[in-house]
Symmetry: C2
Subunit: 387 residues, 2 copies
């Protein structure tokens, strides 16, 4: 295969950024050959950015049927990801989907099955997995240096959004349009990194979410979730778009120390011995194991959408292992779905939750919605600097 011929579907905030990246030749081994959008003004924008050498499609069917497209990058609104990816797989395309994988796990699991059956390269834009900071944390945990995990804690509130952000599109922050708020949009990366770095999916979730607490929206903008893991460890995840200036502090406690990331600095408090060993052998009453405080030199890099696209193209061309396999998209979504369900039902839930039941509950939210946005600006926002 020569260059991977990429078609981008969906030219909103993220899609526009990807179109520019591909058209400007910033992905080795790939070229932008087509875009697909139903939005006239966004099509005009594409025309203004390109020199007539990019095919423009207004309907999905012709786009997916085009034999000059090898691979599609799906950057449409969340709900459509599984359906469009499944269509793409059926037409033999490789697929990279923007996050989230979808809005509910039911059709995401179906998409994963279609991906597997197709044998095509499937990736998801969990671009934070390309961040050296989180790769280092994952390495320290997976290599056993932190020891058995006891507790995790992520306060992720430096994802502030004012009302005008929510008013930029009609679909944004509605049950019907986006299927959620801070969990499905801003903090989904963190939900993924939380489970990916630790290698631990929660077994039980208890959450309290506030809907439209800080904004005139119907979905959640403030969440606290308590989780329990298989091994008895506990965790707390706090996300909000209503706090300024926010916090981004991720703490992971293990039997051999503690990792803390805050202000993009990683500190490893490394114990000289296992705490469990110390506990049972020390006889002094007061006292604790010795430790070293190590500042781990690693540069955080959030501007890594490029790396995920490049990795996907490399996987297509050379069979490189994927940093962010598409099938993994269901994990953060599973946590997110469970947090909603726990909040709605006011119950502690075991994971995995029932995908059909969640789907039904979400439909109830959509059908019961009476929310109307007062002001919609229909603007395309510059996403530079966001995740």
């Amino acid at each position: 295969m020569g260059l991977v011929r990429i078609g981008v579907i969906g030219i909103g905030n993220m899609g526009s950024s990807h179109v520019q990246m591909l058209y400007q030749g910033r992905i080795n081994g790939a070229e932008l050959t087509a875009v697909c959008s139903r939005n006239e003004s966004r099509i005009e924008w594409v025309k203004s950015q390109t020199k007539g050498n990019v095919k423009i499609f207004k309907d999905e069917e012709s786009f997916f049927n085009d034999s000059e497209i090898d691979a599609v990058l799906i950057a449409t609104p969340h709900y459509s990801h599984p359906k469009l990816a499944t269509e793409a797989f059926a037409k033999g395309k490789h697929v990279l989907i923007e996050k989230p994988a979808g809005v509910y796990t039911k059709n995401v699991l179906e998409m994963n099955a279609a991906a597997k059956a197709s044998g095509k390269v499937f990736s998801i834009m969990y671009n934070q997995r390309a961040n050296p900071l989180y790769q280092k944390i994952r390495d320290l945990i997976q290599s056993g240096q932190l020891g058995t995990i006891k507790r995790t804690n992520w306060i992720i509130t430096d994802i502030y959004r004012p009302q005008s952000y929510y008013d930029s599109s009609k679909w944004r922050a509605t049950w019907e349009g986006e299927g959620g708020g801070v969990l499905i949009n801003q903090a989904l990366h963190h939900l993924d990194i939380w489970q990916w770095t630790t290698g631990c999916m929660p077994k039980r979730i208890r959450a309290v979410s506030s809907f439209g607490k800080y904004h005139d929206i119907e979905v959640e903008d403030d969440v606290t979730a308590f989780v329990e893991y298989e091994n008895g460890a506990t965790g707390v995840f706090i996300a909000s778009t209503g706090e300024a200036p926010g916090t981004n502090r991720f703490e992971i406690v293990g039997d051999r120390g503690k990792l803390v990331v805050e202000n993009e600095e990683l500190i490893f408090f490394q114990l000289a011995q296992s705490e469990r060993e110390f506990n049972s052998s020390y006889i002094g009453g007061f006292g604790m194991p010795d430790y070293q405080k190590k500042e781990i030199s690693v540069t955080s890099n959030n501007a890594n959408h490029t790396l995920i696209i490049q990795n996907w193209v490399d996987a297509i061309l050379k069979g490189s292992p994927l940093l962010s396999p598409g099938e993994d998209g269901v994990k953060a979504l599973e946590i997110s779905n469970a947090i909603y369900l726990s909040s709605w039902l006011n119950e502690t839930l075991e994971l995995p939750i029932n995908p059909e039941f969640y789907y039904e509950k979400l439909q109830e939210k959509i059908n019961a919605s009476t929310f109307k946005k007062k002001h919609v600006s229909n603007s395309t926002l510059d996403v530079n600097g966001t995740h």
Copy 2:
């Protein structure tokens, strides 16, 4: 009145420290005139520390009846505080009780009523209220500089205890002996400071506690509590004696910024304008209010038992306002009782909880206990450096 003549009852870890402090004349306006203990070896220890000018009592009745004692400092095991304080008030003594005020709110409320009826000076050893660090936080909040509180978060796990600590006394960390673990002992100060600095008592609590998770004990050594306040703000409190090296990080988010205390450093992220105002007026989509990061110069001082005793003596002699009125003891205990009850019942609870109901549930724990400690060293621990 000349010197306040103080009797100390209970010569364990804390009582021994107070005896030395008073006998060495480190409290102005006070003298140690008596001690009361049923423990022969601790009485011998007192004799070894003093020159025969301190009366020794082995029974409480004679101690409280002694007319040469103006004020009593109660440092006995937790359960006995309300009963002994009530007896002291009945004999016209001023009272300073070690924390906790008691183990359940039922008899603490009765003690508070007895204190009020007596007109005597009643204080509790919430010595962290004398810490300039927490006084500064309280001031920044109570003066309105932080704005309306949105969220609080305290991770207090730098209170590590190895098994040998729990094995130092038979009564320690049992339902019958201590009535709880990390909440009633190590983290009770933090529960008090949490409500005292913010001026907010939780209205609703949902907690998960693990009992004997990290130690061979029957009470809790690991707790996560989620709270909701009257104004819709939320909070999380995490305490554990099983993590090393632990964390002590207290974050308070308000409409005009954020306070963070970690490693005894206080940082005030002060917004240029109210976030609520910014939210409704800003039109840029992405963006947030300007802020200044201010490092507040204040020295944390944990060694402040002296200050609380001095303040109590000053209140007796000169009517000085109490830093830590005894009646306030019920507040942290109320939170603590609610955390236990929520954990036991697996329910979200409204505060105040029913004092009688909690008392009954605690009796059930005591009566159902089959736990026996394997090793008890019966040692008196040096509490220098602890709170």
